[in-house]
Amino acid sequence: MTNNHFDVTIRVWRQNGPDEPGRMVAYKVKDISPDMSFLEMIDVLNEDLIKKNEQPITVESDCREGICGCCGLVVNGEVHGPDEHSTVCQLHMRRFKEGDVITVEPWRVKSFPIIKDLAVDRSALDRIIQAGGYISVNTGAAPDANAIPVDKETAEEAMDSAACIGCGACVAACPNGAAMLFTGAKVSQLALLPQGKPERERRAICMLEAMDKESFGNCSNEYECEAVCPKEVKVSNIARLNREFLLANLLGKTEPNAPAKHLISTPDVPEED
């Protein structure tokens, strides 16, 4: 059964910590099944390294079915590997052949510092979400399903934006290291829906300002992000972010950082001196 198995050479980025110097190290991986996923191939290599009492390669992954956004590698210079619009966990060894030399690198993004080897810290994206990528709701009984009508086209469009898994491929592929596709998708998924409308101005300004605080570049509309996005998030989301921000900034009547009026509690009894 092993007649279709093959050997490859992996050139992988090894780096002990965020401030340590890194280097490319070559490993021979033998007897690879074409049915293995790329990450399983790294698992095999890691088991081998552990047996040899060497440090295994740190690589981030969780669901391994392309929906969580944990994995993210640059394989042979291609973000998420050679398959179009898929995460690297969906890449299989059948895409390679005997004797291939495969270069594996982490996202080399200034705002995603390398934690170790191939794992990077993407918390910069979390901080953008924290600045406004949510809706404020009153807790209580679940509302009636059709209480707020949403037409199918809009629901689909919002869902397409919400498909973003926050893997950071858009930033890694961008010539400038911009996070506009991510931020655009996160602003869009809420701006499109009635539930997101009350806070849309505040959200656009706050999320953009949070994005600017991180070390991301500017979008120059080259659309490399759209070409690599595993969830096929469209650059129309970037235009929507531009639009949301410019309209909120130029036409919005309140400042985003001022507390919303309904949140200011007025004491029933005036305080006594």
Binding site: E105, L208, E224, V235
Partner: protein, 226 residues
């Protein structure tokens, strides 16, 4: 008075890019007007010089000129600012990197074509704006077009404009938030048409370089007399 929203046009990334995009679109519009004016050369010396005199006799023209200077300053300042940030934050150090088809020749050379256009603009101002105009504008322009050296530089400037606008025009709309399944393909096409129209500048100069105007009048002897 709330001036925070005006500050945000400078302090945020989208604000800066919107200023660059809006000034860029207006400069593109100016280039189309400039092109239409250059086409008036074909109407002949008397017509062209009368038109220029009409323009210069309008006291508002000087304000428009300063407005144009302002557009250039905003466009260049914001462009350089944005590019410096990009340079600092761009992903670096990939051992191998393959672009996935998003980039175009126009989009990846914006900075270089911008520098070429600026250099050309300086040359253009020194040859046409800050010189003695007493021989008449028609004479001044057409005699410049009869120099091979000048036409070569002129065509270079036009080509840089074509590349710059091929990305810049449609990109400006996206930056200003205009993206629609119906209109974006038309905007992209329109952007390319405006970009390619810049080649008409080059054609006009070649027309005069080859003395086609004199041949058309059957007065090629005129050149010898001059």
């Amino acid at each position: 008075m709330n001036t925070l929203f005006l500050k945000r046009l400078i302090t945020t990334s989208i604000g800066r890019k919107a200023l660059m995009a809006a000034s860029g679109l207006l400069l593109g519009l100016f280039m189309l007007v400039h092109l239409a004016e250059n086409l008036l050369l074909f109407k002949g010396e008397v017509f062209y010089n009368t038109y220029v005199d009409f323009l210069l006799s309008n006291p508002l023209t000087i304000f428009l000129e300063f407005g144009l200077l302002g557009l250039f300053i905003v466009h260049i300042t914001m462009g350089v600012w944005v590019r410096i940030e990009d340079f600092i934050n761009a992903p670096r150090g990939y051992e191998a990197r393959k672009w996935q088809g998003g980039r175009t020749i126009g989009s990846s050379t914006m900075l270089y074509t911008a520098a070429a256009i600026l250099a050309y603009l300086a040359y253009h101002m020194l040859t046409f704006r800050f010189v003695d105009h007493s021989i008449g504008f028609y004479q001044m322009i057409t005699s410049a077009f009869r120099s091979k050296m000048f036409v070569a530089v002129y065509i270079g400037g036009a080509l840089a404009l074509v590349l710059h606008l091929s990305h810049g025009m449609q990109s400006a709309f996206q930056t200003l938030g205009v993206n629609h399944p119906k209109y974006t393909p038309l905007i992209k096409l329109g952007g390319w048409l405006v970009a390619l129209a810049m080649m008409i500048f080059a054609f006009i100069s070649v027309y005069y370089l080859l003395n086609l105007d004199l041949k058309a009048c059957g007065t090629s002897e005129m050149l010898v007399i001059r």
